[in-house]
């Protein structure tokens, strides 16, 4: 299992290196260390959200409301900052994470207690959350000059790396430990991998899925704050359609939509793969009409390679099992 995951991550790392090589032939400055750090920084929101989505997908669910959660918490953070310019930014950050947690828990409760399929629940809440932004903001924008300097400085503050990158690194570290070393972390795998067996071992499947949505919501809340302070603007449509990028990052990262398979490293690499494409396309001078086709093809190729790799492994395991029987 570990070897399988390792090889999957190796393939993806290789793919990213090849991608960087191709970009470098057209625009050498792209692979300068400072630029690569810039790409990482730019991809940080996607990494954080991909980790939240990883947890959800592992439990056989999907969270399509992440971008809407992000937009709603972002708008609330921005409006709080405008209404109370003296409120400490740390407090706003905590409120954003808290609100994200509540929104995630709402998804989780609907999945857990009412047993509604997650895709339906989150499709619904996605629209509801966007609608709430419209209600509270009246459709108006919160603009850069209304936000306080402290609010806008958070993701830009540099300690070697910009804070935005540090947030991603810390989230990755916490979830790497949590997913490999804690009971709840292993429960996520068990619930998605074999729900029946999970029940026999005493794991409450619904409650585990609930916690997955809570984590995804909390991370989306954090990203909402970072997003709005980074781009210094909040309006109804921010990050529109971003949930699809997040799911794509997970799928590229080798996380099985059927649940139970995937790793934090895979999610990070999947996000980075997309991040490199997103940052490279503007500089390699390709017609915008081709850009979408190219990023789509890259996703499909990455997934094809990944699934092929895992399929062969699967057959071998089956043969061994047959022989043993």
């Amino acid at each position: 299992m570990t070897q399988l995951l390792k090889s999957r991550e190796m393939i993806l790392t290789g793919a990213i290196v090849v991608l960087l090589g191709i970009v470098a032939t057209r625009f050498p400055a792209f692979i300068a260390p400072s630029n690569l750090l810039g790409v990482f920084n730019d991809t940080s929101p996607l990494i954080i959200l991909a980790i939240g989505q990883l947890v959800v997908i592992l439990t056989k669910c999907i969270d399509l409301s992440v971008a809407a959660t992000l937009a709603l918490t972002g708008m609330v953070s921005a409006m709080l900052n405008v209404a109370f310019p003296d409120m400490p930014v740390v407090l706003i950050l905590l409120i954003a994470v808290g609100l994200g947690t509540v929104l995630g828990a709402f998804n989780g409760v609907l999945v857990w207690k009412l047993g509604i399929p997650p895709i339906v629940v989150t499709l619904g809440t996605m629209t509801i959350y966007r609608g709430i932004i419209f209600l509270i903001s009246d459709g108006k924008w919160v603009n850069s000059h209304e936000m306080s300097a402290a609010f806008k400085s958070v993701p830009r503050f540099e300690i070697g790396l910009p804070m935005l990158s540090w947030f991603a690194i810390v989230v990755v570290a916490i979830f790497y430990v949590a997913m490999t070393r804690t009971t709840l972390g292993r429960a996520f795998y068990a619930v998605g991998g074999n729900p029946h067996a999970a029940v026999y071992t005493g794991i409450n499947v619904g409650r585990t899925q609930f916690w997955a949505f809570v984590f995804s919501g909390a991370l989306a809340g954090l990203t909402g704050f970072l997003w709005v302070s980074r781009y210094a603007v909040a309006y109804v449509d921010i990050a529109l359609g971003f949930e699809l990028d997040v799911v794509a990052a997970c799928v590229i990262g080798g996380i099985a939509i059927s649940g139970g398979v995937g790793s934090v490293g895979g999610a990070v690499l999947g996000a980075l793969f997309l991040g490199v494409i997103k940052n490279a396309l503007p500089v390699v001078n390709i017609s915008p009409f081709w850009q979408m086709a190219i990023s789509g093809s890259a996703i499909i190729i990455a997934i094809a390679v990944n699934t092929r790799a895992s399929r062969t492994k699967g057959r071998i395991i089956l043969k061994k099992a047959e022989q043993a029987a």
Binding site: P45, N143, Y231, V233, I238, K278, P282, V283, F289
Partner: protein, 329 residues
């Protein structure tokens, strides 16, 4: 319901006669907006009052529904017909739904024009566009050229590659480019009106063209994201971000210096011009294709085949007037 409506119409008709008799001396012009309480339209009303003061014998009725619906505007139009106003100048919530109500108004001898957001030709005598494709195309290049006397590279950051408005403006901009020697358009990129993609495209432009002097973004999301990207890259003063934006959104960028100036229509001028046009048409100005109608300090409006006219170049906003306008729209 049907009886009620008939009764209302009869009363309305009666009131119309009474109304027109009572106010024979003043020209009563109704400025109907998409919804009350929107800064842009409040500013247009200010312009209408300015025109009224200039013309002398005009009374302005500033009105509109409380939400931006065609139904609300139809009610307002019906009540205006009942009051027997002399002219209606409307910014429509729907081009077609208002046609029957406005036709009824015209049948009663009321002058009807639309401005800002138009009504289908059969529902009005003329339509006043705030600007035209050619004027906008020229303005966005001029905004960049004005602040780069030695010339240099400029790039356009648009909305999506298929956005009709933006593409028309960019085409028009490319046509006038030869009039600005030294201005070299190096790239046109698309941010899809998403802040994150626009921000990345702006970063990409800065990386690909180190000598870039200006980024022109004829879209509100794009110009904001580009200003932020230039600010974050520490290139304020080197690269001027300009284009079309709203004063309330751009105030921060103008303050930081990332944007020296940008443009958008001026709602005060628009309300002023709409009022003057309604007045002149009421006084007998022809509205056939090609006719020219004076609009006071804004010059003259020339009608095209569909009875539409353009007011002027977009109005330029910079540090000198942003404070005044940022609270308006």
């Amino acid at each position: 319901m049907g009886v009620m409506k008939k009764l209302m119409t009869t009363i309305a008709a009666a009131a119309a006669f009474a109304g027109s008799a009572a106010h024979a001396e003043d020209v009563r012009i109704a400025l109907v907006v998409k919804a009350l309480g929107i800064g842009f339209f409040e500013a247009a009303a200010k312009g209408a009052e300015e025109a009224a003061a200039e013309l002398g014998d005009v009374e302005i009725i500033y009105t509109g529904p409380t939400d931006t619906t065609a139904e609300g505007q139809i009610e307002v139009i019906n009540s205006l017909i009942a009051q027997g106003v002399d002219a209606i100048a409307i910014s429509a919530n729907d081009p077609d739904a208002l046609v029957p109500a406005l036709k009824k108004a015209m049948d009663r001898g009321i002058t009807v024009i639309s401005w800002d957001s138009g009504v289908a030709p059969e529902g009005r005598q003329m339509h006043l566009n705030p600007s035209s494709t050619e004027l906008i195309g020229n303005t966005i290049i001029k905004l960049a050229a004005d602040h780069m006397p030695e010339g240099g590279d400029v790039a356009i950051l648009s909305a999506s590659a298929t956005a009709t408005n933006q593409n028309a403006w960019i085409e028009a901009a490319k046509e006038v480019l030869p009039n600005y020697p030294g201005v070299n358009l190096v790239a046109t990129v698309y941010g899809d009106d998403l802040s994150d993609k626009s921000y990345r495209e702006a970063q990409g432009l800065m990386a690909s063209y180190p000598d870039l002097k200006a980024i022109i973004a004829p879209t509100t999301v794009g110009i904001l994201a580009a200003s932020q990207a230039v600010t974050d890259a520490g290139k304020i003063g080197e690269i001027n971000v300009t284009g079309l934006g709203l004063p309330s959104e751009m105030a921060g960028a103008v303050e930081s210096g990332a944007t020296i100036s940008f443009a958008i229509w001026n709602p005060i001028d628009l309300g002023y011009a709409a009022t003057t046009l309604a007045y002149n048409i009421h006084k007998g100005a022809a509205t056939d294709a090609g006719s020219e109608i004076p609009m006071g300090r804004m010059g003259t409006a020339t009608l095209d085949d569909t009875g539409a006219a353009a007011m002027s170049d977009p109005f330029t906003y910079d540090a000198s007037n942003i404070e005044q306008f940022k609270s308006i729209f």
